[in-house]
């Protein structure tokens, strides 16, 4: 290791970190809508995102996936606009748009030339309160969502296993349900269910409007006042905590599916920034994930793919910015001649090493260097910056946590990484799933060379 370079890196990076400070302006409308604006004048573009505090983890049994279904229906017309017109207007203004649903949020976005921000505000304000939920449109869109589920989950062995794994790894946390919903729930949504969900959650006091781009905060606030201020707030009832019960021992499952390769998923119940006794634990788990899987030099790729050559692919993931506690996940596909049990044991060895020995200083510095560099790279994207602000605000951490991230990761010590490994990556908090491939039948090719079209 070249020490001189490392020192240079460390001397330089904090200086940068402070100059990189995000300048975000905040304004709250009388009806409770929070508006966040961040200037980025490198391009004459603005991204505008509306984040609602609702997602699959808000859903009671029987209507899982309804947040996602409603997201689809939000493109199906209002008092003022016919179904599909929203997208047509955005397209004619040169815009890109879409929406996404997660466990803790539903968000809608448009990216356009900054001078056209009003187009997006007008349309978003309109559908925040005046959505038409039409039975015929729902009938068609239900089919679309069912096709989406088939494509993403039903015909994808690893995704399907992940779904079953979540249902086991969580006992009572709503994270046990798929974001897209269980099939029988999707089949049985009624217009009334969607109407009730919309009425309950789509209100200015349950939303955050984020704008990043070539804009002036004052002008954006004035524009937000113009389009959103007249919307009535709702009386929001707090949702129940549904705090996950303590796990009392290891859980294991086998998932048998037509597939070609076996696959292993392991997950340890772990706190996140919002639920940790001390915030430092969440940042230490973040660094721990980096030690295992922060690039090609990290332990899993180096040790299991290259060193022992027992995996063809391997990964670790942990998200510290969710609303409720998560599982710290490891996944791997065995190399030819190796089994998921070989992998399980090798992964546990890696965990054991983290519990016994302190990680090297070089290793720790490498993780930090990557985090610091990524903080620069992320600023290449206005969309990503808006995502971070919107997400942290929506899960209840507050957007200011974005600014703390780099510093807090920088403060993590080797001892803290060892301590969270000892505390959380233990057998009693573990869930394991094995994908057992079943033969793929069929696979017969028929070729017809007569004219294939009408």
């Amino acid at each position: 290791m070249n020490k001189q370079l490392l020192c240079a890196a460390l001397l330089w990076l904090p200086v940068f970190a402070s100059s990189a400070e995000t300048k975000v302006s905040e304004h709250v409308l009388g009806n409770g809508l929070k508006v966040l604006v961040k200037e980025d004048h490198r391009s004459p573009i603005a991204v505008s995102q509306v984040w609602y505090k609702v997602g699959s983890s808000y859903e009671p049994g029987g209507i899982t996936g309804i947040s996602h279904m409603l997201e689809h229906m939000m493109f199906k017309g209002t008092d003022k606009h016919a179904p599909g017109e929203f997208s047509r207007i955005i397209a004619e203004n040169g815009g890109e748009e879409n929406a996404f649903t997660g466990t803790d949020y539903t968000a809608y976005f448009q990216t356009m030339e900054a001078s056209r921000l009003a187009v997006s505000f007008e349309l978003e304000a309109d559908r925040m309160r005046n959505l038409h939920l039409l039975p015929d449109e729902l009938k068609k869109e239900l089919q679309v969502v069912t096709e989406e589920r088939r494509m993403r989950t039903d015909d994808n062995p690893q995704a399907k296993m992940q779904e079953h794994f979540n249902a086991m790894a969580y006992s009572n946390s709503p994270y046990k349900n798929p974001i897209i919903g269980w099939p029988s729930d999707i089949e049985n949504y009624k217009v009334e269910d969607l109407q009730a969900w919309y009425q309950r959650w789509y209100a200015p006091n349950n939303a955050t409007l984020v704008v990043v781009g070539d804009v002036q905060p004052k002008a954006v606030f004035a524009l937000a006042e113009k389009y959103f201020a007249s919307l009535k707030p709702s009386e929001l009832k707090a949702i129940k905590p549904q705090t996950e019960v303590e796990q009392l021992g290891v859980r294991k499952m086998t998932v048998k599916l037509p597939a070609k390769l076996p696959y292993l998923l392991m997950g340890y119940q772990a706190p996140v920034l919002k639920t940790a006794e001390q915030e430092s634990e969440a940042y230490a788990l973040e660094v721990l994930a980096g030690v295992l899987d922060g690039g090609s030099s990290a332990r899993l790729e180096s040790g299991l793919v290259r060193g022992k050559q027992i995996a063809v692919s391997v990964g670790a993931s942990y998200g510290l910015h969710s609303r409720l506690s998560e599982v710290f996940t490891l996944e791997a596909t065995p190399a030819e001649g190796k089994t998921v049990w070989d992998l399980e044991s090798a992964l546990k060895d890696e965990i054991a090493k983290l519990q016994i020995n302190l990680i090297d200083n070089d290793e720790l510095q490498r993780i930090k260097a990557q985090v610091l560099a990524k903080a620069v790279y992320e600023r290449d994207s206005g969309f990503y910056q808006a995502m971070q602000l919107g997400m942290l605000e929506t899960v209840g951490l507050g957007w200011k946590k974005v600014d703390e991230y780099v510093d807090k990761v920088n403060q993590v010590t080797a001892e803290q990484v060892r301590d969270v490994a000892r505390k959380y990556l233990i057998e009693d908090k573990l869930s394991v799933a094995y994908l057992e491939p079943l033969p793929i039948t069929g696979h017969i090719t028929e070729t017809k060379t007569e004219k294939g079209v009408r």
């Binding site: 240079a8 330089w12 940068f16 490198r42 391009s43 004459p44 573009i45 997208s87 397209a91 040169g94 748009e97 879409n98 929406a99 466990t103 990216t111 030339e113 009938k139 679309v144 989406e148 088939r150 494509m151 015909d155 994808n156 974001i179 070609k260 390769l261 690039g295 030099s297 990290a298 180096s302 290259r306 063809v312 692919s313 993931s317 942990y318 910015h321 190399a335 070089d362 490498r366 260097a369 990557q370 985090v371 610091l372 560099a373 620069v376 790279y377 992320e378 290449d380 994207s381 206005g382 990503y384 069929g442 696979h443 070729t447 017809k448 060379t449 007569e450 294939g452 079209v453 009408r454």
Partner: protein, 440 residues
């Protein structure tokens, strides 16, 4: 397509977006060994994106399908005095991101790094050694080959992948575009490390190299960077151009039975190439037909009106030679026939009638109104510059893009589609459960 994500995937959700005021100012020169360099200076962030690309994609595989991909995969597993761990540590200790990739036409190595000198220098030196002195060790080769074979096996559990492989075969037959980039289990099994060495020696040469630099480096720094990266390559020569694509002689229909709940459908034929005089007519026409994300004829007919699929779109993928024109969708097995009818009718009507004036005007507004968003990040800009450089497009490509779009008329689209998209030659691939089966 409405995105739907798991929350933890968000962290990995890579940047798509922000620099470049007017269309970018691309500076171009050649190194003494004959490598082409394309450079754009951007300010505001202390970072740079660098790419070194070669005409060495899967189309150069010869009979060893997968050779280009394996050669690329081996690059950062050993070079100079370093092994894979040391290479990875060198990049990651300075927060740099390195990747090697291939497409049908191109093999490339990419680096994203901070520009602070000690960090930048270390990353650049590592990349230079990778490009000029890769080791191609037998042990690394055997490991990467096994991983490729596992990946090829895994493809067989994906109806979408199977459809794509069959589609390229149907469109291109024995043309170098006809086989999948990772190769097949049979061809990859036969590749040896010596094949990689000769592939590298033939194609990873200065005369066949291009360098793209986009970021906060001065012109002088950019010149030094390019020289450092490719100065140590053998001079070599440019390979012969790829052969022309022969169009299929008649329409084809192929069904692959697969135990999935959906059938993956691909319909298409060889379409357009980079310097095609019809390019803008085909591009704008396709935008109306099925290229616009949430607003297009196919999206409207297949999804909005009938709820037959989650995604339904069409695209032209221009390459050095005619890349595919492809219509794609996925639908419940027993709806496949209906979906295909809708697709074929929509396409036939579009070819026969062309777009309406209103459709064309809306498409132009979308394309030109959103023009700045095509290169509003260093990442997106670098990928445009790479395309312009690799295919030797005019340097003012981005400046002339909008005028060319504006010139397109309903008549010129109709004319181009009539000549270039022929229902009588269309290849149709379906992969899924047969309709009868799923009705039981």
């Amino acid at each position: 397509m409405r995105i739907h994500l798991l929350s933890f995937m968000l962290i990995a959700w890579v940047a798509f977006c922000s620099p470049a005021q007017a269309a970018a100012k691309i500076e171009h020169w050649q190194t003494p060994q004959g490598s082409r360099v394309y450079y754009v200076h951007t300010e505001g962030l202390p970072m740079v994106d660098i790419q070194v690309a070669f005409d060495a994609g899967s189309a150069r595989d010869g009979s060893r399908f997968g050779l280009s991909a394996l050669t690329s995969a081996l690059l950062d597993t050993g070079a100079g005095q370093w092994n894979a761990d040391q290479i990875a540590q060198r990049f990651e200790s300075v927060g740099a991101q390195f990747g090697a990739n291939i497409s049908n036409d191109m093999a490339s190595a990419s680096l994203r790094t901070l520009t602070d000198k000690p960090l930048f220098d270390k990353a650049l030196e590592t990349m230079q050694v990778i490009l000029t002195s890769p080791s191609f060790n037998e042990a690394d080769f055997q490991r990467e080959k096994s991983r490729t074979l596992a990946g090829l096996k895994q493809q067989e559990e994906s109806p979408g992948e199977l459809a794509s492989i069959a589609f390229y075969k149907a469109l291109y037959g024995d043309h170098p575009y006809g086989h999948p980039a990772p190769g097949s289990i049979a061809t990859v099994s036969g590749i040896e490390v010596a094949d990689l060495r000769s592939f590298y020696q033939k194609y990873y040469v200065a005369a066949n190299a291009m360098v793209v630099i986009v970021g906060d480096l001065s012109r002088q720094q950019a010149e030094q960077t390019a020289e450092k990266l490719v100065g140590g390559l053998q001079t070599g020569q440019k390979p012969e151009p790829l052969p022309e694509v022969a169009l299929p002689v008649k329409a084809g229909l192929q069904h692959i039975e697969f135990p999935s709940s959906q059938t993956h459908v691909l319909v298409g034929m060889p379409g357009t190439y980079r310097k095609d005089p019809d390019y803008f007519n085909l591009y704008v026409g396709n935008h109306i037909l099925g290229g616009g994300a949430l607003v297009s004829k196919l999206f409207n007919e297949v999804r909005e009106k009938r709820g037959l699929a989650y995604s339904a779109s069409s695209s032209f993928a221009p390459m050095f030679r005619k890349g595919p024109f492809a219509i794609s969708l996925q639908t419940r097995n027993d709806q496949t026939g209906q979906a295909l009818d809708v697709v074929n009718k929509t396409l036939a009507d579009f070819i026969a009638q062309g777009p309406t004036e209103a459709e064309l005007s809306a498409a132009k507004k979308n394309i030109t109104g959103g023009f700045a968003m095509r290169f509003d990040t260093n990442k997106k800009l670098a990928s445009y510059v790479s395309m312009i450089g690799f295919y030797e497009m005019p340097l003012d490509y981005l400046d002339t893009f909008q005028p060319y779009v504006e010139k397109v008329t309903t008549a010129s689209i109709k004319d181009a589609f009539k000549r270039r998209v022929d229902p009588q030659l269309m290849q149709t691939i379906t992969v899924g459960g047969s309709a009868k089966k799923s009705e039981k």
